[in-house]
Subunit: 399 residues, 2 copies
């Protein structure tokens, strides 16, 4: 570890000793690839990075109890401010003691700002320099408004441990000039978010936009760093751009971000995307993929030599007494056959959603733990090249 | 306990000592009301009666894992032969090691014969003296056939601990003569089921029909007892008849059944029905009500003074920080508020189905445990009269 990181770690330890509830981040090791192993400290406990955050959109990670998430080793979940703002309402959750108590989860929660969902789910949205007005599909077209100040107020009401600045996330591909304009607005809104913040015990992360243009990305990252946040997110990716752009834009952005702050690649991705993101110095990830795919009968598998995907409904599994993955230690693989999982999935049983979700989350969370160990042991380059060399194969575990 | 029961208990203990896997039933106590506390012994373990059996139609109790059922204290589950016969097929389950292994449940399983579902779910059914031909909604109108022999073969293939004879269950109200005819056919089929049985380690229960006519019930019970089974079920009730008939027909039937065999009131019912059934000497119950109602947001509640029902979607619960029932010790009531349950139910989250199912099953299973304790302590009459005196009240826990 270099001297700068050493100093920053010492500084964080001093801060933590003075106020154990203060937000902090320290790096335990940086691999020669740039991959980082660190610890994020929040008032609801520690998060060991690199970390995958299961998505609990409406105050529940779909099909899971908090106890199951703890058993799976999840150290933090993400909740969507947009959804909770609309239903049941952030003020109601505040009256009920905050989101942690509401959903019975006592570990850290990261909340997004609602910005992304306003663009992807809101109807008839009208954007102005102050914020966004939109209609929701939930309440018969009632008008709602989100501004940087309202987004922060909502996240503070929820009792978030890590809040996100309210940003503008342009679509891919975007009309000419739109990405630059979104960057400018996101910068102004980021400053207003920082200004609006009243809770010292909740971290606030800034978001870097810039589409797939390296110059815009770099400039915008500098602007956001200039304002100064507890951590930095890379936004506006995983919205349809080519994989190459995802990797390149991540690399361009992390190069500008300060080493001593956590970096979060929003809405990403596949296991491959996570492993590549880590190699570019990313610490945090979230994605609905493992949970949503599970509910569609689509499984991630990783054996020693191969990795791939399995669709549990395939007829070939009807008589198959083996687990999804012989090498997997999750509850589902320890107790249930492919034949049974196929049967209950086909019969539309709730238990199928549960058992498949457990498996997919286990794959994601254990991949992050293995990556962390590899970084700590200084062999992430080897880990990465082994991962890349594994034959990717749909229905790979048939034989 | 009277001398006959004492002798029967001694006999069962002798049988158990000789063959621990043999099916058996012994009575621990018979209350002055006629309520019985007993123990059913199967090769997958003991069942303490009176018992409620959660329904696992397709090889899973909807929304629950086997581990959760064990935590709730379930000692036996019911599986539906009709559904498993059609999908994934009883022969496939046999090849995969039997239903216990298939569904990861190592406690006893009772299977019905498929008869009831043929009548309630099958299409274009044609009944003859040999059996029933029907079409299923699952496979595009393919024809299937169930006979007493096939029903036993299917249940033996599943590895059932307690099999049911294949019966004819007439609807309510039935055309004149139809009930008597169904009784005759059920008797002939019962004898054929007994004849067809090949596994000594699985019990076989006979089913008493007879609609709501006391004479037919009594006569049919005598016919079925004459053939001789390991236990006796009261069928053809809870199909739309008035409550008074349910209680009266139960009473008429149990009066004829031998004391030393378990008695099972099929498809019954509400908590009230169970408590009244126990007072008529019934030992076993099953019903989809607690699990199905949970998935519809409909909860059973019992406080000390009142009992009733609660619909979790009501607006009055939106800000309610209290549990479903202050007096309840289930996981749901210990950790989640009405406000949260209402929110996730309204948002159609799978977790809502899970948490509400846990509560309703806990209400049923703990009611049976309390009834058993009351019988063992010789105060079931008091238990019954307290239960009857409780004010029944929808949304009873509002205040």
């Amino acid at each position: 570890m270099n001297a700068v990181l050493e100093r920053e770690k010492t500084r964080m330890e001093r801060v933590a000793a003075a106020d154990p509830s203060a937000f902090g981040f320290s790096l335990d090791h940086v691999d020669s690839t740039g991959a980082r192993a660190g610890v994020v400290r929040t008032r609801h406990g520690l998060i060991h990075t690199p970390v995958f955050m299961p998505v609990g959109t409406q105050g529940t990670v779909k099909a899971m109890t908090p106890g199951e998430l703890v058993s799976l080793g999840a150290e933090i979940v993400l909740a969507n401010t947009y959804h909770l703002f609309l239903r049941p309402g952030h003020e109601r959750i505040a009256r009920l003691g905050g989101l942690h108590r509401f959903m019975n989860w006592d570990r850290p929660i990261l909340t997004d700002s609602g910005g992304y969902q306003v663009y992807s789910l809101g109807e008839l949205r009208r954007i102005d320099d102050d914020g966004v007005t939109f209609q929701s599909h939930l309440d018969g077209g009632m008008r709602h408004r989100l501004t940087p100040e309202i987004a922060i107020r909502a996240q503070e009401a929820l009792g978030s441990d890590i809040m996100m600045a309210f940003d503008e996330c342009p679509p891919y591909p975007a009309a000419p000039g739109m990405v630059a304009e979104a960057c400018e607005r996101t910068t102004r809104w980021a400053a207003r978010c920082k200004e609006a913040r009243t809770r010292a015990d909740a971290a606030l992360f800034g978001i870097v936009q810039g589409g797939t243009e390296a110059d815009l990305r770099r400039d915008h990252a500098e602007e956001i760093v200039e304002i100064g946040f507890d951590g930095y997110a890379i936004g506006g990716l995983s919205v349809g751009e080519p994989k190459r752009d995802l990797v390149e834009m991540t690399e361009v952005t992390t190069a500008v971000l300060p080493a001593g702050r956590p970096r979060y690649l929003m809405g990403v991705g596949t296991p491959e995307d996570l492993v590549e993101g880590i190699a570019r110095g990313v610490d945090m990830f979230d994605c609905v993929m493992p949970t949503r795919h599970a509910r569609n009968g689509f499984l991630f598998v990783r054996s020693r030599e191969r990795r791939g995907r399995m669709i549990i409904t395939h007829a070939r599994y009807a008589d198959d007494p083996g687990p999804i993955d012989e090498a997997c230690s999750c509850e589902t693989c320890r107790h249930y056959s492919r034949a049974y999982l196929r049967h209950i999935f086909t019969a539309k049983e709730i238990l199928a959603m549960r058992l498949l979700t457990i498996h997919n989350l286990h794959v994601y969370l254990s991949l992050m733990r293995e990556a962390r160990t590899a970084i700590m042991e200084g062999r992430y380059r080897e880990f990465l090249s082994h991962f890349r060399s594994q034959k990717e194969d749909d229905e790979c575990l048939d034989g």
